[in-house]
Symmetry: C2
Subunit: 328 residues, 2 copies
């Protein structure tokens, strides 16, 4: 099987939403009248973003999920995506499973594959996603990182820390009971992009971003973009954002320090971090309900730039929860 | 230097054309009213698409050029692009040169970098480009592969074969005089995407595509998409499309068979292949002149599906000029 058969067999499907889909030099997309196109791109490299023996179905899901999470962060509605795939060799069973995971998630968000490129090389997946954001009168409703104001509440969706906990277990750094490993591994390998919540927060959230590199580091980026600051009680964040109680962690052999680290700077969470003024509290709860997504207030924006962390006693904590950096 | 400093230092520039550029979860682009967005993506892998010791300035140029060539093929006007970059390590001198080559070409086409992703990994470059194509009344003016009709003339732009000749010389398969190596190597390493010609051919060419995998193979794709056929006199194509005469080839030690192979199936040419009805001949010449791009008629579309090759005597030739395929 050659390059062109590979595309034909595993990736070509009739265009439904695109003006022109796979098969020509370019795809053609039309954004709805009065809207902007939101674009994001992510590259996943074997051994760096995923294990060599990862389930290809999970990998197909995750490669698209991390991109859709960026659309969610700006409140965009998914339209389509391109896929660039470097493969060491053609393995039909692997490709069928990868495409299965990819298209299952794509279909659930009405996001169609419009073009791509395949080549031989170390396993690498490059995806670029396209979504639409209403822009009535040319004024974009996209959620940005830069709109947070002093006094705004800080929220995060879902739960944090499970993906990192699973990663540590898979790397042999700790041992988890089977049921807990299974639950946390699902969060690592098949994250759910918060598209519905992002769209529901348009016109409501003052700032938003997705949590991919860890809460503390990512919040740092949002604060910097908004030129504001925040003070977080780390114990409160742990209590509110962990998927389970301290007792369950302890029973599974996870120390308090490990749990704190996973929740505060674990990364790979793909939840939304956002801010909204206190006057929007009931509307934020309604957005959470309408999008069927748990949302929790974890702190408040203040005017003094920078992020301050407090421990259980309210004392300042040394700031050692850096954002994930591929080159640090 | 970490990931975020790297982006800040080498790749972040103020957005001019985009509604929102680098720095948030998504970029925002707005296509002009009454137009569609043309999208294409290509991934370049070290050791596969370029030599490990390639000049990084040339690599930056070429990575964007091969993508712009796809926009040219559909007659799109470049708007912006995203860059996903996997690097084995941070080399500031290398990055500065790579960014220099990339932005020089981008600026010359008014195409701005709107977003990206950097990660550690085997050197891999993934670019997705965005252009606009007028679509008055929702009817796209994009040039497609599928519109060729029996009787249409077949044209190619510029010259073919030099990139392959340089590749063979660099791989040590043949030895070229320094001046010829320099000229052909420029075509391999710094191809010029035919953007102006593509835009000038809107409403004129019945079908078009870019020549990246070799004339014979690529023409095969166009014929298949258009459900038509063609007969090419290989000697005529060699005479008209080679950048220099048979005597020069011979003087440089390049055999006739080698020259034929380079021109017919060399690949990496990034010229445009297109068709147009005979009634459009003077308009095609005017488009060539207005875009300052040589254009040559190399044959004619006929109704019988498939591509037939004739030798110098007009006798059928065995069809061994396959299109480049990364997995064949």
């Amino acid at each position: 099987m050659g390059e062109f058969d590979l595309i034909e067999r595993f990736f070509k499907r009739p265009a439904r939403r695109a003006v022109l889909g796979i098969g020509d030099d370019c795809a053609l997309l039309q954004t709805p009248a009065g809207s902007h196109m939101a674009i994001s791109t992510d590259m996943l490299v074997q051994g760096r973003h995923f294990f060599t023996d990862v389930d290809p179905r999970c990998l197909g899901h995750k490669a698209l999920a991390v991109n859709l999470s960026d659309l969610a962060a700006c409140g965009a509605e998914p339209m389509g995506f391109t896929l660039a795939l470097a493969l060491p060799h053609i393995d039909e069973v692997w490709l069928a499973a990868f495409a299965g995971g990819l298209f299952a998630l794509a279909d659930s968000h009405g996001c169609e594959l419009v073009g791509g490129d395949t080549t031989r090389g170390p396993l690498t997946i490059g995806i670029t996603v396209f979504g639409s954001v209403p822009a009535p009168g040319g004024q974009s409703q996209a959620l940005l990182r830069s709109g947070a104001h002093p006094g705004d509440d800080i929220y995060a969706s879902g739960h944090l820390g499970d993906a990192r906990l699973a990663l540590q277990a898979l790397q042999g750094q700790l041992s988890l009971p089977p049921a807990l490993l299974k639950a946390t591994r699902l969060r690592l390998e098949e994250p759910s992009p918060r598209i519905a919540l992002g769209m529901a927060l348009r016109g409501l959230a003052s700032a938003a971003m997705d949590l991919s590199d860890g809460l503390v580091g990512d919040l740092g980026h949002l604060l910097k973009a908004s030129q504001v600051g925040a003070t977080l009680n780390t114990e409160t964040v742990l209590e509110r954002m962990a998927a389970r109680s301290h007792d369950v962690w302890a029973g599974a052999g996870v120390s308090h320090a490990q749990a704190l680290h996973c929740v505060l700077s674990g990364g790979d969470d793909y939840e939304l971090l956002f801010t909204a003024p206190p006057t929007a509290r009931s509307a934020v709860l309604a957005a959470a309900q309408s999008s069927d997504t748990p949302v929790t207030c974890i702190g408040r924006i203040d005017a003094q730039p920078g992020l301050r962390l407090l421990d259980a006693t309210g004392a300042p904590m040394p700031h050692h929860f850096a954002s994930f950096d591929h080159f640090a």
